[in-house]
Amino acid sequence: MTATNTKLRVVIALTETSPVSPLWHAAMQVLEESPAELVALFVEDDRWRLAASLPFTREFSRIGGTEADFTRQRAEQIGKEAVARVHQVIRRLAADAELTPNFEVSRESDRVRIKEIVGNSQNVLVAPSFISNWPIYAMLSKLECRILLVEACEES
């Protein structure tokens, strides 16, 4: 994938905690309006990875609130699991829709890569609404591409 590719592109921005289905359906609506290349971009959250570098960080389980050490290894493990889970969901949805989207993974801090994938102003970015709170959003909004924020709570 290169920035010189001028074909219209719809990019679904996914995170470890974003629900896939509403984002996918929103992207499908865009595709119905105008045919385009579909890309699923998994943006890895840097923040809790940084937190994992601190020796005293604890993770509180969403189920029951039990706490445990939150180490780098733990962060990497759940990060990989999240990528795999989302990738699998995308594959299933794509198979149902008879599509073959590219699946890209990028750190939030890797602005160059994200910019390369999101591309130019003709493209459409479908993203969860909470991403507007993320630092990357400032950069994305400057790309002048069309950003479609989908109301989707972080999975909790």
Binding site: E16, T17, D45, D46, R47, W48, L50, A51, A52, S53, L54, P55, F56, T57, R58, E59, F60, S61, R62, G64, G65, E67, F70, A75, I78, G79, E81, A82, P135, E154, E155, S156
Partner: protein
């Protein structure tokens, strides 16, 4: 003189066959009434009526009688009269038991209302299927639901906002990972990693750690709060759903409750339906999104739990039910719980409960063939159990006997109030009385069908009407008067008694049908005398293969039977072969030998275990007759043996005992016996000749053999005098007697038989107790005294030899 004496015992032709000469004083071509349908069965009719009317426990009925005696028709006719007066019974339904689905509830309704209730519930289901989802689709519901969701969301956000604000004030961020939450230091909206953290002043690092420590508890408290908020949310949504459902169903349920308010159990069930609908309101919302079909609670399945399984429907009937179950298997009588396969498993519910004949007959009458009941497994015990408990419990036999441990339905038992009428043969009844101790307490009424009725003028008239009715009912050509008379004669023959008429209806129907066939063969519009004769003759011909083989074997001297000349110690007895549908007689040679001995008469048949118990008894009786009548003052020093020659099967009955005794007397007295005469009859210890069975067949059997060899007027049969009333001989036999070609002699005492068979005087004791010289009995006694003297001589000689 002796020949004259023999003639004195001759039975007159008129007594050989009692013809029907009673004029038939009714229009036999008119369709008859039904009054004579149960002719001769008044005792059984009274018993059945008593059993039907007796409304106490255990007064069920057992109808005893042979197959073909129109037992079913009799029972049905009598029961039908009472069924009209009784009126239709309850309808019965099974419905879901919402608190315990494994025990479906039974509901009863007045006749016809069961199906009405099923329709009403069907309409309710249909309405609910539309009304409930519509209520959930309505704006009111959506608005209220949204308000609840927003309120819950607000509460959740408040919880997190408070935490986030407090954390932010202390420079801490609450981060979400895929599996939980993390508290991390934040500076200028950026999370601080380990390198940046290490660069912070020690005091600041300490503050951050303390802040995180402090926030951890609060974070945990918030996490724990979330399930409570979710539960509260669900409860509020559920309450809203129930409110909406209650609003949708209450009017319809109230209408039904009003309609069935006279039936408290039905009203209670409707309350349960309403409660269940409201309780499970959320299930009735149309689900969105894909789901696995076999796991989804689609609305049709949800609503099916309110269906009604009408197991007894008496709608349209105005009488009590009369049920005859030709195949009384366990499911057909008790009922069953059916199953259907779903994803490899067998499942069932209250809708698959099926009633059996007991429930179908509830409030009325159940008629069963006892032989079939006993030949089907488990049903007899189950039937008794139902009668004792006075309720029908539908369960599989496996479950009933504890063979099956899997959970299945246990439908609520239904009270049983049915009169059971069992129909069976007499031996079944007596066996059950003897070996089943519960039988008598459950079937207290025995209706014993008579095999025959008196051949009085009145009964003959009624019987003629019965014949006409049977012909009319069975689409048989009208019978002429002479044909009816001939049929009546045949019915006397069937009864084996010229003074009685058989009540065995199926054999009557067969005769009429066959006579009808022959009448139609000659394109007649009426059954005449010759058609009846032809039917009887053709039937005999069809079934007479074995008889003709035996006659042929005798004719060809394969079976040795003399029908002329005379012989010492040899007599023609007569056997009857019973082939079920047909029986016939044929002569058998009986021989006797005698010599000096110790008083034994050996029955060779018994010695080789070919003789039955009654035959052995007859032999012992004739031994006793011999010893008591002759030479009473000396020991019986005889060894005699008697045998049925060329008999290779079993011999049973005592009807040959006169013949056997005559053979022995002939042997002792050395007096030959005429071979042109056969003899039948049993004898008692005093020499009295007693009646036997099958006398007609026996005479005809010997007649047929003699006719084959040529009748010359010397042939005849000696029968007991007491059997004369049973004579209904074939017309050809009677004709032969009338023409002097054949004779039938009737005797009361064995001496009379001896006189006829030997042509000599038997001899009676004079005032001195002596038999007249030259008589047969004199010869017998002389021989026995001679044996006794010889035996005494041998004994003395033996004693002397021992002394020497």
């Amino acid at each position: 003189m002796v020949a004259d004496t023999a003639q004195a015992f001759s039975v007159q032709p008129a007594d050989l066959r009692k013809t029907c000469s009673v004029p038939l004083d009714f229009e036999h071509d008119e369709p008859p009434g039904t009054a004579e349908a149960c002719l001769g069965q008044q005792r059984a009719i009274d018993a059945i009526q008593f059993g039907i009317e007796m409304q106490r426990d255990g007064y069920n009925i057992f109808v005893l009688g042979p197959m073909g005696s129109d037992r079913h028709v009799l029972v049905r006719n009598l029961v039908a009269e009472h069924a009209k007066a009784k009126g239709p019974p309850w309808d019965w339904c099974y419905v879901n038991n919402f608190t315990n689905p494994e025990r479906p509830r039974s509901l009863r309704f007045p006749s016809g209302q069961g199906s009405q209730f099923r329709e009403d519930m069907g309409s309710l289901i249909e309405e609910m299927g539309l009304a409930i989802p519509a209520a959930f689709e309505g704006d009111d519901y959506r608005t209220q639901l949204r308000a609840i969701e927003e309120d819950t969301q607000r509460k959740v956000e408040e919880q997190w906002q408070t935490l986030n604000e407090r954390a932010a004030s202390e420079g801490i961020g609450v981060l979400q990972t895929p599996t939980g939450y993390v508290l991390a230091p934040v500076i200028d909206d950026k999370v601080v990693g380990d390198k940046e953290f290490a660069k912070l002043p020690k005091a600041r690092r300490k503050e951050i750690k303390a802040a995180i420590e402090g926030l951890s508890e609060e974070l945990q408290a918030r996490i724990e709060m979330m399930p409570r908020l979710r539960k509260e949310h669900r409860e509020r949504v559920k309450a809203l759903d129930q409110e909406v459902t209650a609003h949708a169903v209450s009017v319809q349920i109230a209408d039904l409750e009003n309609k069935y308010q006279a039936l408290p159990r039905v009203s209670a069930y409707l309350d349960d339906v309403q409660e269940n609908l409201i309780e499970n309101a959320q299930d009735f919302q149309q689900s969105e999104g894909p789901s696995l079909p076999f796991l989804s609670g689609d609305s049709s399945r949800l609503f099916s739990q309110y269906e009604v399984n009408l197991v007894v429907d008496t709608a349209g009937s105005d009488t009590a039910p009369i049920v005859y179950e030709p195949n009384p298997s366990y499911p057909n009588i008790i009922g069953r719980v059916e199953h259907r396969a779903e994803m490899g498993a067998l499942v069932t519910d209250f809708r698959m409960v099926r009633s059996g004949a007991l429930l179908q007959a509830n409030g009325g009458y159940l008629i069963l063939d006892m032989r079939r009941v006993l030949s089907r497994p488990f049903i007899w015990e189950a039937l008794k159990q139902a009668l004792f408990a006075k309720q029908v419990r539908i369960e599989s036999p496996g479950e009933s006997y504890g063979f099956v441990s899997t959970t299945t339905l246990k439908p609520e038992p239904i009270p049983l109030d049915a009169k059971i009428v069992l129909i069976g043969e007499r031996w079944l009844y007596y066996l059950l009385c003897r070996y089943d101790i519960e039988f008598s307490s459950l079937f207290k009424v025995a209706a014993d069908l008579d095999d025959d009725l008196e051949r009085s003028s009145e009964n003959v008239q009624q019987y003629a009407q019965l014949i006409t009715r049977q012909a009319h009912d069975n689409d048989i050509l009208p019978l002429s008067a002479s044909a009816i008379q001939r049929v009546i004669e045949e019915r006397a023959r069937r009864a084996e008694d010229s003074e009685r008429l058989s009540t065995h209806m199926s054999s009557l129907d067969e005769l009429l049908a066959q006579a009808d066939y022959w009448a139609r063969q000659r394109e007649s519009d009426q059954v005449d005398l010759d058609d009846v004769r032809k039917a009887i003759g053709e039937r005999r011909k069809r079934l007479g293969r074995i008889q003709s083989k035996i006659v042929d074997a005798i004719k060809r001297d394969t079976l040795l039977i003399d029908t002329s000349g005379d012989c010492v110690g040899q007599v023609n007895g007569i056997s009857v072969l019973d082939l079920g549908e047909f029986r016939f007689g044929h002569p058998v040679r009986i021989t006797a030998t005698t010599r000096i001995g110790t008083g034994d008469v050996v029955d060779i048949e018994r010695e080789v275990e070919l003789g039955g118990a009654i035959h052995s008894k007859g032999m012992m009786i004739l031994s006793a007759a011999l010893s008591s009548r002759y030479a009473p003052d000396v020991p019986l020093s005889l060894r005699g043996s008697v045998v049925f020659e060329q008999s290779y099967g079993g011999v049973e009955g005592d009807s040959a005992s006169v013949a056997e005794l005559c053979a022995l007397l002939s042997s002792l007295a050395r007096v030959p016996i005429r071979q042109n005469i056969a003899v039948t009859g049993s004898v008692n210890q005093l020499g009295r000749v007693q009646a036997v069975g099958g006398v007609n067949e026996k005479i005809e059997g010997f007649f047929d053999v003699c006719r084959e060899r040529g009748l010359d007027g010397s042939h005849g049969v000696v029968i007991p005098q007491d059997n004369v009333k049973h004579l209904m001989l074939r017309e050809d036999v009677v004709d032969a007697v009338r023409q002097g070609k054949f004779s039938v002699f009737a005797v009361k005492h064995v001496d009379e038989a001896v006189t006829i068979l030997t042509g000599m005087e038997a001899g009676a004791r004079d005032d001195n107790g002596k038999f007249p010289q030259g008589s047969v009995n004199f010869g017998v006694e002389e021989q026995l005294i001679s044996y006794a003297k010889l035996r005494k001589g041998f004994a003395e000689q033996g004693a002397k030899s021992d002394g020497d």
